[in-house]
Symmetry: C2
Subunit: 245 residues, 2 copies
């Protein structure tokens, strides 16, 4: 919480060089929000790695296992850049991640896939939702952090694999489609519950969305529209899998 004070003295104002970090980082609340944001994304990636590696056990074939393990490794490979960015902000990366361990672990504990297909849908829909949410937040960041955050979510190209497998399975067993549609709603609900909890506990992060004296923010109507967009994209993803939402 207080590490933010390290860099915010007048000394830090003189930084130069191709990004707009220096000015933004004079605001201790902004820096704190950055540390929170990078921390939550980093822990989210570590956690996604763990859960995908766990889901790989459910894979019906070795080829499926390798596909899901590739997704796991792709998530994990993003941690390093986030870690380095946190260090460049003078923050301890692990301390930055710590506050988000509980809500993210709780999300995963409450959405442990019962089978391979629930795991696939979770990988696709859950990660997509998290990516969309961070992308929305990224609009309120300095350019350098924004590029890092948006780069984290570049599609690793494994989506086609998931869509293919889930659609084939639903075609073969229509009842599976009903179960997975319910599962998708549960993922969305649980994600919102945990996001709300994080927002309630991390003032700086919420303040980032709400804006500041020198930064535009979101009013309640805009936050409402943001959630409408997130829900819409969730619906699109479910539809791509051949599922109602």
């Amino acid at each position: 919480m207080t590490e933010s004070q390290v860099e915010t003295g007048p000394e830090s104002g003189g930084r130069a060089g191709g990004d707009d970090t220096p000015l933004a980082f004079e605001d201790p609340t902004y820096r704190e929000a950055m540390v929170d944001l990078l921390g939550v994304i980093a822990y989210g990636e570590i956690s996604a790695f763990e859960r995908l590696a766990e889901d790989a056990k459910l894979a019906p074939t070795l080829e499926d296992k390798v596909a899901i393990a590739t997704m796991a490794s792709a998530e994990f490979s993003k941690v390093d850049a986030l870690r380095r960015r946190l260090e460049s902000l003078g923050a301890d990366p692990f301390a930055a991640m710590a506050p988000f361990q509980e809500p993210i672990d709780r999300f995963h504990d409450h959405t442990a896939p019962a089978d391979w297909y629930e795991g696939l849908v979770k990988a696709y829909v859950g990660d997509g939702l998290a990516d969309d949410f961070y992308r929305e937040i990224a609009a309120y960041l300095d350019a350098e952090t924004r590029d890092l955050v948006v780069g984290t979510f570049e599609d690793s190209g494994h989506a086609a694999f998931v869509v293919d497998r889930v659609r084939a399975a639903i075609a073969a067993d229509h009842r599976l489609g009903g179960r997975l549609a319910l599962w998708g709603r549960r993922l969305m609900g649980e994600a919102l519950i945990q996001a709300q909890r994080v927002a309630a506990e991390r003032d700086a992060l919420s303040a980032l969305l709400a804006g500041g004296t020198d930064r535009p923010g979101l009013d309640l109507a805009a936050i409402g529209r943001m959630f409408a967009r997130l829900t819409e994209r969730h619906t699109e993803r479910m539809a791509e899998l051949g599922l109602e939402s």
Copy 2:
């Protein structure tokens, strides 16, 4: 034992251009052995990934978790080149891996770490042993496959982390040292049992070591010396961890 022996057969003399693959692969047994070898290594890496990801759950801190997850990802990142090499040999990579799933899974089932430290010792000693073994075999391969196999085992630089953690834990609790020493012996024993099983079932792979009409191989005495070297290196690794073997 020396790599030079591989190249001394009359057939290998005329090969040029830094790649002696073509002629070696005219021997169907040799090709079959290559497919087996690349298959067993690839499945071994996938399996190491899975087990390390599993062990990451036991990590006492987030930093430890990231360290072990980094090792897991490093193992997995090696699968792709092995897969491509198998494809270039006209083999289905997953079919090539399939025969080794059972013995490797059995090895892991019989050596599931009871705690974080058993997991660390297994990562260090078990993977080291496998690497040594494949490196011994690599001496009997064509240059291109040998480079690929040896490259697979380049130290990912995480060894220092394991040595550091295990030594500190033993210093703090001497009884742990006794338990981990026994654990190391069990890992070695189980690895030998499964390796023997593979050798018994995969004729081409054993034939690679035994040699052929046009290829030098190992007689029983040489195989004995190879196992002596593997045991010696195992002892060295245990000693580095501060453990008797």
